[in-house]
Amino acid sequence: MSASLLALSVAELRDGLRRRAFSATELARAYNAAVEAARPLNAYITPTPERALAMAAAADQRLARGAALPLDGVPIAVKDLFCTKDVPTTAGSRMLDGFRPPYESTVTEKLWRAGAVMLGKTNLDEFAMGSSSTTSWYGPVLNPWRRPGDNRPLVPGGSSGGSAAAVAAHAAAAAIGTDTGGSIRQPASFCGVVGLKPTYGRCSRWGVVAFASSLDHPGPLTRTVRDAAIMLAAMAGHDPRDSTSAPVPVPDFEAALTGDIRGLRIGIPREYRRDGMPVEIEQLWRRGIDWLATAGAEPIEISLPMTEYALPAYYIIAPAEASSNLARYDGVRFGLRIAGESLEDMYELTRAAGFGAEVRRRILIGTYVLSAGYYDAYYLKAQRVRTLIARDFARAFERVDALLMPTAPSAAFAVGDNSDDPIAMYLNDVFTVPANLAGLPAVSVPAGLSADGLPLGLQILGRAFDEATILRVAEIIERAADFRHRPSFLAEEMR
């Protein structure tokens, strides 16, 4: 019974709970056990089983009264970058050791108000800086997938690697993450799940530990496109506490999944066909184009000339903002403090001990690019590139309704790979950062397996606030790909 519960999608759980086929409490127990069973993946930093049971009990009461909320009883995992009231919030960093926020982030608050049940806080790259979920103070997350016949552990991608791994391993029905340069979509691709980065301003950043404010996007990681639509509906909406939150209505994303994309023009950006791109990814992309064409869409080759400058611009803007956002971790008011002889001592000791190498690297880069004499050459130029990238997309969307491209340039790699080469690591984000720079919605959907048996995602990118269209297109890919492969590690098989 419980094993089959873990395999259900959010949409199926929602229907089953309303039919009273099983209770929210039953479901929470099953998932609490799954979270336990999935410990080897290190996907969770802080499981919250008691809270899950309490929330499930409340959901059961509403379900019994016939007053069910949209997500009543659905057990989800929360990237440990979202502040959750009285529950430790670490951002994967030693710096926030012992920090329990006195407030709840807007997005999680909305999810709880929609009846969702919190399973725990998931592991991530420290302060969401990374593409492998290996830089956490709480240790690396492992991908539930292994290459067939090869027992080497693989990374789940990052930075929302814990969320992606939990959803893939059936240790959460769905999860939320944040995407600053690909941190939802790339781990979704590596773990064979759906990852949606909504439009900038669609989901509030209030209460989300900031990495790069102009690039951070909260969004869902789910097993199906429909689940992503359901989750987004609960997470989205204008928040007056976030000045960058958009005062726009939230459409019925689920209703947009009509299965009909006839006449839709799909842009295929030629600049994403990079030298040295694995053939299998090129092939997967072609297959995706064919699927959409078969469904009645019209593929159109387009050009996004500024694409090659996106990654360097991103790796200037994101660290610049991070260097400032992370200045508040000074040992004075919360989190870690290492006492010193003087104020400067305390700052240096605390920040040296509290931040890991990757965070320190980005703070240094960010400080450098904002420094007097370098600002114009780096930060300002990168902002100009950003404007040009947005213009590229705006022009493209005069001709097409959505874009299709690969999510990542490779499948999951082994733990330890790329760890001594930051540039190689940063290249993981090459297909995902443009959407962050332009603030446009993009979704990664599992579309096939690599030659060595690992999941690969395709990415659909759309107009601002047109998540409906990309979800509709993603569902077509999902149906056509019929991705039924399962990772080697599933929570229900671990007991």
Binding site: F82, C83, T89, A91, L96, F99, P101, P102, Y103, S105, R205, W206, G207, V208, V209, A210, A212, S213, S214, P240, R241, D242, S243, T244, A320, E321, S323, S324, L326, A327, R328, D330, V332, R333, F334, L343, Y347, T367, L370, S371, A372, Y375, Y379
Partner: protein
Amino acid sequence: MTAGHSGAWETVIGLEVHAQIIAKAKLFSGAATDFGAPPNTQVSPVDAAFPGMLPVLNRFCVEQAVKSGLGLEAEINLRSVFERKNYFYPDLPAGYQISQYQQPLVGRGRVLIDLPDGTTRAIGITRLHLEQDAGKSLHDQHPDLSYVDLNRAGIALMEIVSEPDLRSAEEAGIYLRKLRAILRYLGTCDGNMEEGSLRVDCNVSVRRPGAALGTRCEIKNLNSIRFVMQAIDYEARRQIAILEEGGQVVQQTRLFDPDRGVTRPMRTKEEAHDYRYFPDPDLLPLVLDPAWVAQIRANLPELPDAKKARFIAQYGLSAYDAGVLVAERASADFFEAVAAGRDAKTAANWVMGELFAALHRKGLSIEHSPVSPRQLGELIDLIADGTISGRIAKEVFAEMVETGAEPRAIVERKGLRQVSDAAAIAAAVAAVLAREADKVAQYRAGRDKLFGYFVGQVMRATAGKANPALVNQILRQKLAE
């Protein structure tokens, strides 16, 4: 101009004024702003820069800044940008101050100052921008530890930057008083320097008259006009002394020591912070609706310069008197309330004379005057209708100041009503002239000056209550007989 032993030197001064905006809530957090609250009781998680907290701009603070800009006759920039000024200090919780840098809310404007020689000069305003205040570090609470009070952190400030148009400490003082008066008129800053509502950084340099600008030093965070003037004087003398000895002024940030009356170096240019300004990604550019600005402009109160001109035209006051009365909006309002329906000159004389003296003596502001405009007006009416003389009125006023009693009641209670009964006065005159027969003779022989003596004697005989005009008239008659 200062005379050195090698010739004349000109001091060039520009001021940066940090004016705390009158608002119930902070610039970005909604926390309260009451002065003197217990430490760390007016702090939201936003002010304490807790993870994930975001700033939301307080619209009222923007309105106050726009109002101030309009009061400084300045351009309002319909698009302005908040930037982060990054530096580490425990009373700056986020590690950056949200300020405006490249694109401030308010551009060029001016303040007219009235100089002692009777001329008026325009001092250029470079800009006015919005920014957050920092908290307060307390180093005297514990032998080894510093404490931080974040009540002030995030309070809205206007930084008002002047052009280097000021030429002496005295001019700087006049400028600051005028600026403060304008802000108080507008109700955008209470100008209370003791509570830190107005803090001043002075940029001071010296040069030979007509030469290019010299190297400047910045004296930080002065909290009284007197200190500003002392600091400028000291700093100008210090720089002149260096230059006259053939040395060079080093660009520096300095602090003023009010106990010793000197400025001391705080940091040199080489040690200056690199603030790494960049647009705050948590805040959208501030875009104003021109109609909203127009509405604020339409609702501006009458400002000191306009009020002064009106006082001269409407009440026939001298430029000097009008200038004194409009220096504080409360004085101007007090005067106008007293002057309504009365002789304006008399009203002005009473306000600027007896009232100001009494307030000064008692250390009270005009808002806390023990005598209300109505009461002062009634006192003046008592003089005008002959109930009391001007001399008695001063006595009555003194008692009003002490007791707050109504002038009419004092007059009645103390029997101060003026004697205007011609027969009674004539009797008193006759008695005096009879008693002073020898002086009457001298008067009639040509010692005109004795007339005043006779007046005095009559007043004395009537305990000061005799109507002076009648006394004069009857005395002249009797002496001419």
